[in-house]
Amino acid sequence: MDKLMYDLKTQLIEQLNLQDKKPEDIGDDEALFKEGLGLDSIDALELIVLLQQNYKIKLANAEDGPKVFRSVRTMAEYITEHQGKTV
């Protein structure tokens, strides 16, 4: 799980153009939106693309988004649970 979370942080920085951040700047349980990392609605779409592109996981139900994308840890848990499955 730690390796997956580190990889996710690296991918977030790359995909969301967070050049002012390093992986160690992003907490495992830090909120990705609003008061946390401050991501916006376009970033949310990029996160959906990231899941598809890097992990072949399609988020079929948009209502799951806030729960899945709450933090790096919740993303990692979702990936671990769904990788290799058809969602």
């Binding site: 050049q19 693309v49 592109q53």
Partner: protein, 204 residues
């Protein structure tokens, strides 16, 4: 004459790896690549605005030019936010980003590139930064049309639609780029807002 009341109170020109503020050399890069020049200029200004990194290149260029234009030259509290307008122009619209977006379409289309596939987004980025809410417009011309910019911006000022206006040219396609932006206010003295004065600064 009304024209004499419109004064260029500041200018910023970026081109050929050089940045001029009010006609004076402010910054000189040493990169052949505009994608290196723009972050280098951002680091030089150190404005602490992380959203800069998310912008496309035309927005980065216009945003940086405006940042330099206004810094130390603009008394923001002198105007209501809805009284400050932005009028930009260029020749390639958002083609630089359109092409990058098109490259992603065969795989996973990028939402963050898609939102920059309009040229006027650069105006939005400037207005978000400074909270300007005044009239804005983006025009596409084959080359810089200072006469049109003077006439259109002058009209906005004359009719009271805006009381100050940022106007000019913000163009980028691959490694070809040029920005020339002007702050125009209604003052008694200073550099007259004429096409000739804009062309002179544009061609620095």
């Amino acid at each position: 004459m009304n024209k004499s009341q419109h004064i260029i109170t500041a200018s910023c020109v970026i081109g050929n790896d050089k940045v001029y503020k009010n006609g004076e050399l402010l910054f000189e890069g040493n990169s052949a690549n505009v994608s290196d020049l723009l972050p280098g200029l951002y680091d030089f200004l150190a404005p602490d605005y992380p959203k800069f990194y998310k912008m496309d290149n035309v927005s980065k260029l216009g945003w940086l030019a405006t940042e330099i234009l206004l810094k130390g030259s603009f008394e923001k509290t002198a105007y209501a936010l809805e009284d400050v307008g932005v009028v930009f122009s260029n020749s390639n619209s958002s083609l630089d980003t359109d092409l990058r977006y098109f490259q992603t379409v065969s795989g996973y289309p990028s939402p963050s590139l898609f939102v920059y596939t309009l040229p006027n987004i650069v105006i939005g980025e400037v207005c978000i930064r400074h909270k300007f809410q005044g009239e804005n417009a983006f025009f596409i011309f084959e080359k810089f049309q200072a006469d049109f910019i003077r006439q259109y911006t002058g009209g906005l000022l004359d009719t009271g639609v805006v009381k100050a206006c940022i106007c000019g040219w913000v163009e980028i396609l691959a490694n070809e780029y040029k920005a020339a932006v002007f702050l125009v206010e209604q003052k008694n003295t200073g550099l007259e807002f004429t096409a000739a004065n804009m062309y002179r600064l544009f061609n620095l």
